[in-house]
Amino acid sequence: MYAFTLHRPSSVRQAANLLAKSEDAKLLAGGQTLIPTMKQRLASPASLIDLSLIEGLSGIELRGRSIVIGAMTRHAEVADSPVVQENLPALAELAGEIGDPHVRNMGTIGGSLANNDPNADYPAAALGLGATIVTNKRRIAADEFFTGMFETALGADEIVTKVMFPLPKKAAYVKFANPASRYALVGVLVSKRGREIRVAVTGAGANGVFRVTAFEEALQRRFGPKSLDGLSVPAAGLNSDIHGSAEYRAHLIGVLARRAVAAAAG
């Protein structure tokens, strides 16, 4: 790993100032992606800005009909939270399937969303549940947040502070995990909130997480797995790698979407 300077600001404002004035700085949240990436020299930031001393960036609360989760909240905290388990069990289960127990004790929701790994689970949660990502500057709807593989709408000195999940009537996440990494080969989150139905897919898209409008429209007519019979996602534009071809991933999307709808409807 190349040398860097570590900053440990105590407020979001300080962190944003450091980010704005540093030439080549990266935010350090849980570090479970960034540190391995730095070890492999795929990233070599000149400075790291550690967010862990900033108070108020972590925690889970039910506010009206939303669950609000601080950006530095660890995956294990989301998975084990009685508030999340009771009001949005699909999100608790999703968080509990990320990586392994030790990684879940460090990794954060804000870090995962800002990284926007095309195989990560949280982007599917944010897009599939219609979350709002709150930063030090503004609120960004999940539909606008994810702009491409490892790319987001975040500006150069913008920091995710919390994520707001509106409570759905029904929701489920089903993933086909890579058996070694536990990243999603394909993961599908399905939700229904009022008239709004969302089907979000991670792991398969060449540009990261995406919605399947054809599935959503079919589910508008009737929210059941049979509504998706005969529907499929074209393989063109999906990822193809040693773990699975684009055709295989396209097939998985249909299978997992039906399972997720069945789980959500049940």
């Binding site: 570590l6 350090l28 070890k39 127990p101 030790h102 004790n105």
Partner: protein, 166 residues
């Protein structure tokens, strides 16, 4: 170089470190606590698992400087003098190791499982909770048996104080 202070196995330690220093390097090279192993160095194998403020983490994937003020517990802190911790004893009794390289991480992960899930652990729970710990010798079978037995022993009166694990 910046300084870092933390408590390791109940003892306060302070040292100047290069910001690149990972916790596992700090433990092994600065403190000479070589029980914590570096296996894959890519956050997968779990040979480096230690407890930080009571929760199991991979010490190869955190910088020492991030742990200012933290309470760290390593495998060296588990035994009470010459008396092994019940989880260590269970690994010995159940032949839960062969080469032993993964064992420190396995035992620290096992104690963490007991802390979170209690003393009565079924096989499925143990196997799924071991997701982050790899062993290339045993086929896991005896590790699973050892953890179930160690968990029971930790719950019985025979358990020695686990001062370091808390």
């Amino acid at each position: 170089m910046p300084a870092v202070s933390m408590t390791v196995n109940g003892k306060p330690v302070t040292a100047d470190v290069d910001p690149r220093t990972l916790l596992v390097q700090f433990l092994r090279e600065e403190l000479r606590l070589t029980g914590t192993h570096v296996g894959c160095d890519t956050s997968q194998c779990g040979a480096c698992v230690v407890h930080v403020n009571g929760r199991a983490i991979k010490s190869c994937t955190v910088f020492a400087l991030q742990l200012e003020g933290a309470k760290v517990a390593t495998i060296e802190g588990l035994a009470n003098g010459d008396q092994l911790h019940p989880m260590q004893e269970a690994f010995r009794d159940n032949h839960g190791l062969q080469c032993g390289f993964c064992t420190p991480g396995m035992i620290m992960a096992a104690v963490d499982i007991v802390n979170r899930k209690g003393h009565d652990l079924d096989e499925h729970t143990i196997r799924s909770e071991l997701e982050g710990n790899l062993c290339r010798c045993t086929g896991y079978h005896n590790i699973v048996k050892a953890i179930a037995a160690g968990a029971r022993a930790m719950g019985s009166g025979a358990a020695v104080t686990q001062k370091a694990a808390e």
